[in-house]
């Protein structure tokens, strides 16, 4: 049963978004094409009408997820961004949280196309930090960029280490809280 062009396009976008969330939750190898299509409300056979392969979708889903982190960064100032990033809520919300934190371990073993998507996402984050620092006039772009790299690496590391701990381990919360203070406190000055 054929479907409107507009509907088909909307369905495709919905599949990408669903995939983006499922991959973040379970990893690239943890989600099958059939799982994914079922979660989006379709049967698996139609998948190849939209995508050349599972790998193609992985790249699109990564780009889709990374764009969300980018818009969150743009909407908030640096302190607010990291205040939310380094929270238990973010750590526990794997499927809707940062794609970088959820999948950068997997990305490292993926083909160059997917790695390039991650690098582009990160570069976008840094470029915006450079501009923001320049606008506030309190940092030259080079310093603003370096500070953002340091903070983001720490924030991603904290979320990932925290998620690798058992849910009930006090250490899981401790990592988040210590790193949140380390990043946010100096920004309050």
């Amino acid at each position: 049963m054929r479907v409107t062009k507009a509907q088909a396009q909307a369905n495709r976008a919905h599949i990408v978004e669903t995939a983006s969330e499922l991959f973040r939750e379970r990893g690239y190898d943890g989600v099958g094409v059939a799982d994914l299509m079922a979660a989006a409300g379709f049967t698996h056979g139609g998948f190849y009408k939209h995508f050349g392969s599972k790998a193609d979708l992985m790249a699109e889903a990564a780009a889709c997820g990374l764009a969300k982190t980018a818009s969150a960064e743009e909407a908030l100032d640096v302190a607010q961004f990291f205040q939310r990033y380094l929270s238990r809520e973010h750590r526990d919300a794997r499927s809707t949280g940062c794609t970088m934190a959820a999948l950068c371990g997997d990305a490292a073993r993926q083909p160059a196309a997917i790695k390039a998507t991650f690098a582009d996402g990160l570069e976008g984050l840094l470029k915006r930090a450079e501009h923001a620092g320049a606008e506030n006039g309190d940092q030259d772009p080079h310093t603003a960029r370096a500070r953002m790299i340091e903070r983001f690496a720490q924030a991603v590391g904290a979320i990932m280490l925290s998620r690798a701990c058992p849910d009930d381990a006090p250490l899981a919360d401790e990592i988040i809280e210590v790193c949140r203070k380390a990043i946010v406190a100096p920004l309050a000055d």
Copy 2:
């Protein structure tokens, strides 16, 4: 063809060590039981004479790999440890590098037994940092612990983000270098 008890025990240890390296290189889902046994010099059938399941081996291999990071930390002072940790050599040496950096993304999706192994490994790292800080007399244990959490989260995040970039991306090296300076420079005082 049966084998000496001592030989069997040595073979078992060799399988665990081989697995630890292969898992770090390709991730838990990227290595099959047959791959692994072949890499260790055996056929796959004998696997279940040593281990109850692949998951059991994953836990043992994680413990084995994390112990290596622990002994590296013990042998070096803090500045030396991070100087080596945040190097291109470490980033490129996935199979022999830090298990936490190679597998904490995968660990987050594993059963509690494996997560507990990671948490224990991290706790060991922190306990030694507390003692080292106390011995030097320049930090109380609580502060030494917090500083170690901050530094280690940043170091793990930097290695993981760097590895998620394409090999030829300048950003991959930039992340490592910026974070190495951020951690090591203040320690030189």
